[in-house]
Symmetry: C2
Subunit: 352 residues, 2 copies
DNA sequence: GTGAAAGCGCTAACAT
DNA sequence: ATGTTAGCGCTTTCAC
């Protein structure tokens, strides 16, 4: 069994309380001599405070709960990584729950986090789950990556998905495209619904078509994007006739999917951007190494994570910190998939 | 404040102990009538046991610690996700620490996990750190993804990196390549060192060159692979003369890096596989959507994760479970980057 | 079948 | 400046 505080106290010839005072630098002062003696014993015995006991007594676990759809999607992988990094810097541990957008998993993890008395919560998934009948949520600092929270006490740090998607689509429109398809994740997922709405709104604003045959929903993965594209651009596995209803451009709601989209175009023998122009939303590093290079609406994950974490920790430290409500516009990073720049010579020769 | 067990007991007209018996199905029997009454009150009051208190008293936290280099690398992202999924199924929470291969971070997280009384540990990073002077590690079930553990009590579930790398290199040799470059992560990282050793051993076995000019170390990311390739294949940003010492093939230690490698080849105007053949190690889904399709040694992350988690949980459940020592061979998944298959027509026309 | 009670290891208010 | 002590909410042994 590990060394306990009482053992340290006994070995140092002081009371257990003094050991606590030394460890926590308070709430009472300790004479330098005693402090030195206690510290020596702590080191000698290799004493480590039991975090569970501190949590039970002290009421703080130095941990936060974090709900994310998954960590395979580079967008969320980066977000998670950044959040973890910030929390770690401040001495907080992140308890992560992968929800896969499944309401049951969301509620289960939410409950688990509350049972374990996390000091705060960040939702990258399932913000609406906070309406679930769980007690003790109102007293907890919560940050969600949504544009509107179910409860105003929940801080929100959102990406402006509707506007960002609109910008992406508008960019394609400027290249003269009217038949612009939309590849997105499940529309039940709020963020996906918003990006779809952005596509639709921007298309409708200039009387471009937004029919169902232009939209494909699929899993947010390379495979999903790939499948959606095959569905959208091909007839029985072959590209549809050029002068039919085949989209000449695709708006893709995520970088991962876009990677699968590029692959599908290649499989179908469709050139990007000449036959199909593509713009995605994300701006992850993965998008910077595709062939051809993706044009993408970059959403600054690093900044979002930093803001969310710092704000959450501020609310944890001071319960009176008012909730924050922000949203961020992405910015267009122009690559070679939209048609802005002609292909470089080396690209044209790539498979000559 | 949340409802406590005593409040439930009072409301149900029983003693706190009985509430525990009901909740834990033991260790004493409870009459059906009493049980029903208690359960009704629990539901009515929305009572949830305080996991911290249970942990302090019961000695089990229903959580495990997990050390991973990072979650941006799809290989580790998949591994982490699979481990989390298995643990979640068994009611365990995963505490994740991203180490970035930094010894300080590794030790800090290891200590944090011990302080928080995790029930077990999985190391995807820093297995050697278990030699660190931390108390209480010997009593804990530990699984590491290394081939040899510092302490025999540590279960090991390893990928056979040396052999897998050798197979990948041999495949390139069969295509007639002799000058085969090596792109890998930092050689201080054991897994990277093993893959480098595999490349070197296989090359030496047929008297192929293994000079320093054929090796490039870089961060395990797309950008890293990209930079390493530019260094290896170019002179001042241009490809080196075809008949010089430029490698005609590259062995790449990870899929992420390989994606950057492909991109670099494209930037340099080198065709894959005609000018440079490429084989990587990993077999992540990301590798299945590259252009051209990567040939890669697939290491079955899903299986590794399942084995590691199930074994760890078995050891947690029964301390007498003997440690497991396994390693797994990968298998070659042939794509288009090695030169096995000629390019499809559509590919040849891709940028015609 | 049920209740009483002793802690788990710690924090902090209250004594001295 | 330091010691004493009452819990935090729970599990489980021990009585009844």
């Amino acid at each position: 069994m590990p060394v306990t505080r009482s053992q340290v106290a006994r070995a140092a010839g002081v009371s257990p309380a003094v050991v606590s005072y030394v460890l926590n630098n308070g709430p009472r002062r300790v004479s330098p001599a005693t402090r030195a003696r206690v510290e020596a014993v702590i080191k000698k015995l290799g004493y480590r405070p039991n975090a569970i006991a501190s949590a039970l007594r002290g009421g703080t676990t130095q941990s936060i709960g974090y709900l994310t759809p998954n960590t395979r999607n580079p967008f969320y992988a980066n977000l998670s990584e950044a959040i973890e990094r910030h929390c770690s810097t401040h001495g907080y541990l992140v308890l992560t729950g992968n929800t896969h957008h499944d309401r049951v998993r969301e509620e289960r993890y939410l409950q688990t986090f509350l049972d374990r008395k996390v000091d705060g919560l960040i939702f990258a998934s399932g913000v609406s789950v906070v309406d679930a009948p769980v007690r003790g949520l109102d007293e907890l600092p919560v940050v969600g990556f949504e544009q509107a929270a179910a409860r105003p006490a929940i801080s929100t740090i959102a990406t402006e998905d509707v506007a960002d998607a609109g910008t992406a689509v508008e960019h394609l429109q400027r290249h003269g495209h009217r038949l612009i398809g939309c590849v997105a994740g499940p529309p039940q997922v709020p963020a996906e619904a918003r990006k779809i709405a952005g596509w639709r709104g921007q298309q409708q604003s200039v009387d471009n078509p937004t029919g169902d045959e232009l939209v494909a929903f699929a899993e947010t993965s390379e495979a999903g994007g790939n499948a959606a594209t095959l569905q959208l651009l091909s007839e029985h596995g072959r590209p549809t006739a050029l002068h039919g209803r085949r989209p000449t451009a695709l708006f893709v709601a995520s970088d991962v999917q876009a990677i699968g989209v590029l692959f599908a175009c290649y499989e179908l023998g469709l050139r990007v951007p000449q036959d199909v122009a593509i713009v995605s939303v994300g701006g992850t590093t993965a998008a910077a190494f595709t062939f051809p290079l993706l044009t993408t609406m970059r959403q600054d994950v690093e900044y979002i994570a930093a803001t969310a974490t710092e704000h959450l920790l501020a609310r944890i430290a001071d319960a009176d910190t008012p909730p924050l409500h922000t949203s961020l516009r992405g910015n267009l990073v122009v690559g070679l998939s939209c048609g802005c720049r002609p292909h470089q010579a080396s690209a044209d020769e790539y498979h000559a």
